[in-house]
């Protein structure tokens, strides 16, 4: 519910309640005042009669009887309500009556009843309610209208801020630039948000710089280590030594692993930093053929049968060449790595999607977790487990959809990449993979 709708709702409820109470109060108040007025008038007439009796100006009772209600029998004395038929309007009309004894000289005591119609009270109620309802309607309508107007006008800076926040992207390395509206609360909000975004940007920048520097500085020592170890292996005395050579070789292998890990991590951080702006049309079918040819020895070594289906013709995707290469490399390598000896790899490229499926050991668990960093099926594996994370990041970067599903009792893994997926911003980690649909 909108803030304004919520406040309006409370306003309306309160106003209606007050109006109902006010109407009751007014009605009873006016009626009470009116009744008092009628009673006063009746009292005044009684006084007049009594005075006339005392002054002996009163006409005889017989004459009086034509004008007043007079009884010779005792009647309850005082005010009371009664209903009388109105001769003109032919309906029962409420009346207030005052009965009192009157001693008329020569004729003894008679009981006089004075009456006055209360019919005005009903009319009054009608008028009161009509006026109140009219005012209520006008007021409620007015409240709603003014709120609408406020929503459009007074809240405009807020809507503007909201839109700016919604489209805010830290990766553009720019702080928010919000105006200072006239309304103090919004001005304060905008100021706080601008400060926050400035801090975010500077933190992000320094983190990015740090990552970049760390990556660059690590690269050189790694290259030196690798080169020197290789040179060490060229020393005949060492290479021929059955004890020393494997040690150096292991050290060399570990250095290579470290530098691969470093490459993968810096690639990931570069994708996250959106440092691959340049995109060119890539012939994915050709690249795929190249990659498969390159990896054929790997397939052969593990006795894998593979099928490459690119019969649907040239597939062109706008990508950075380095990322396209990395994507296919990681996908294919993943299909080899998690395969079983003598298994299969199926690669199908269509204009809209790339599907790579492979046989593998039965695995349980949520396929979306396979995209987690450093996730390994086999903890002892030498690979750092970043391949699918890289695939996911690249797909997220270009807004491709990824599906990972496992069929045939967990032994066939299929990864599908959909090129024409809606161009979405970089997805949250692990959020992109979805459950099988079959």
């Amino acid at each position: 519910m909108k803030l304004l709708a919520a406040t309006t709702r409370y306003y309306l409820a309160l106003t209606t309640l007050l109006f109902v109470l006010g109407s009751f109060g007014l009605y009873y108040g006016v009626e009470w005042a009116l009744r008092g007025e009628v009673e006063e008038e009746l009292q005044a007439r009684r006084q007049e009669l009594i005075e006339k009796v005392q002054a002996h100006q009163l006409t005889s009772v017989a004459v009086l009887q034509t004008l007043l209600v007079i009884s010779r029998q005792p009647k309850p004395v005082g005010f009371s309500d009664t209903l009388l038929l109105d001769a003109q309007e032919h309906e029962q009309v409420p009346n207030r009556q005052l009965t009192f004894p009157l001693t008329v000289p020569g004729e003894g005591t008679v009981w006089v009843t004075l009456r006055k119609s209360l019919v005005e009270a009903d009319d009054l109620l009608g008028v009161v309610l009509a006026v109140m309802l009219g005012v209520l309607t006008l007021l409620l309508g007015g409240v709603v209208l003014i709120n609408r107007w406020l929503a459009g006008r007074m809240w405009a800076p807020f809507q503007h801020t909201l839109a700016a926040l919604r489209s805010y992207d830290l990766q553009q390395h720019k702080a928010l630039d919000l105006p200072t509206p006239a309304i103090a609360e919004f001005a304060e909000l905008n100021l706080a948000l601008t400060t926050l975004s400035q801090r975010l940007v500077s933190d992000y920048e320094s983190l990015r710089e740090f990552t970049g520097n760390a990556a660059h500085e690590t690269q050189t020592p790694l290259a030196i280590m690798q080169a020197q170890l290789e040179q060490l292996l060229q020393i005949p005395a060492l290479a021929e030594d059955d004890a020393a050579a494997p040690l150096v070789a292991e050290l060399y292998g570990a250095t290579l692993r470290l530098s691969r890990l470093h490459q993968a991590l810096s690639l990931l951080s570069k994708i996250e930093n959106r440092q691959f702006a340049q995109a060119v049309p890539i012939r994915l079918d050709q690249l795929l053929q190249e990659k498969v040819a390159q990896l054929t020895p790997l397939f052969d070594a593990r006795e894998l049968r593979y099928g490459l289906d690119i019969a649907s013709g040239p597939v062109i995707v706008q990508m950075h060449p380095g990322l396209a290469d990395s994507l296919l490399q990681n996908l294919l390598q993943n299909a080899v790595k998690h395969n079983v000896r003598g298994g299969e790899i199926g690669i199908t490229l269509a204009p809209q999607e790339l599907k790579i499926s492979n046989t593998g050991a039965a695995v349980g668990g949520d396929p979306s977790r396979f995209f987690e960093r450093f996730r390994k099926q086999n903890a002892a594996s030498e690979s750092p487990g970043l391949g699918l994370s890289i695939v996911q990041q690249i797909c997220g970067y270009y807004g491709f959809g990824i599906d990972y599903f496992i069929t045939e009792a967990g032994t066939r893994h299929t990864l599908r990449i959909e090129f024409s997926h809606t161009a979405a911003p970089l997805p949250k980690r692990n959020a992109e993979a979805s459950r099988p649909t079959e």
Binding site: A223, E230, D242, A249, Y252, Q329, S383
Partner: protein, 225 residues
């Protein structure tokens, strides 16, 4: 064969220097852009190994200078992995090849050899190693006058060995050479063994000596003794 090695990192330069010297090249070093520029102006080289990120300049400018001089030297660009776009620019400017750091020294040897071969003899050179005769341009191998039929990978493997005679080639370097970048599955070294076994068998069938030696736990070596 005279090479110019332009690399600012001293330790890496030393390693490259000794490796290239072992491979039989005359190597001169330049630690920065200014030194490199001076040497390029004064001397002729067969191949320039050029690191693109130098403390006092961009290697690409040196490449431009070389090309505008009409230098016959081949250029091998050595670039950091995060400079993919530099690599493309370098090739566009007329560099012969590129290597991404970190690389295997044996791979460097193979690339340099290929560049020099292509440059100096327009590829029409034969490689001779003991009783082997190879025409790289034709991808033909002869053992004692008899032609040897090899698969593409076996041929690549043999050529890689021939580019690094007497040098220990690690399994990792061979795997990357055959399978491209980033072959990180450890058990993928099986395939080297398979290809090597086949190559050795074919060589032996033609009566060649067994000059590919296994270095236990390390890799292989083309023995020239």
């Amino acid at each position: 064969m005279k090479l110019l090695l332009v690399e600012d990192e001293p330790a890496l330069r030393r390693a490259l220097f000794s490796s290239l010297r072992q491979a039989g090249y005359v190597v001169e070093e330049a630690a920065d852009f200014a030194q490199a520029e001076e040497k390029v102006m004064l001397y002729q080289y067969d191949c320039v190994l050029l690191d693109l990120t130098l403390p006092d300049g961009n290697g690409l400018d040196l490449l431009r200078a070389l090309k505008s001089q009409g230098s016959p030297a081949g250029v091998l660009i050595i670039t950091a992995r995060d400079a993919l776009d530099d690599k493309v620019a370098g090739l566009d400017l007329g560099a012969d090849d590129y290597l991404i750091k970190p690389f295997h020294l044996s791979e460097l040897n193979a690339r340099v050899r290929a560049i020099i071969r292509r440059r100096q003899f327009q590829g029409q050179q034969q490689l001779v190693f003991r009783d082997l005769l190879v025409w790289p341009e034709l991808a033909e191998v002869h053992v004692r006058g008899e032609q040897l039929t090899l698969t593409k990978k076996e041929y690549d493997l043999l050529l890689y060995f021939l580019s690094n005679p007497g040098r220990v080639l690690t399994k990792e370097a061979i795997a990357e050479h055959l399978c491209g970048d980033a072959v990180d599955a450890a058990d993928s070294f099986d395939f080297i063994y398979t290809h090597l076994k086949n190559l050795r068998k074919k060589l032996q069938e033609k009566g060649a000596d067994n000059y590919i030696r296994t270095m236990y736990g390390v890799g292989y070596k083309l023995s020239n003794e």
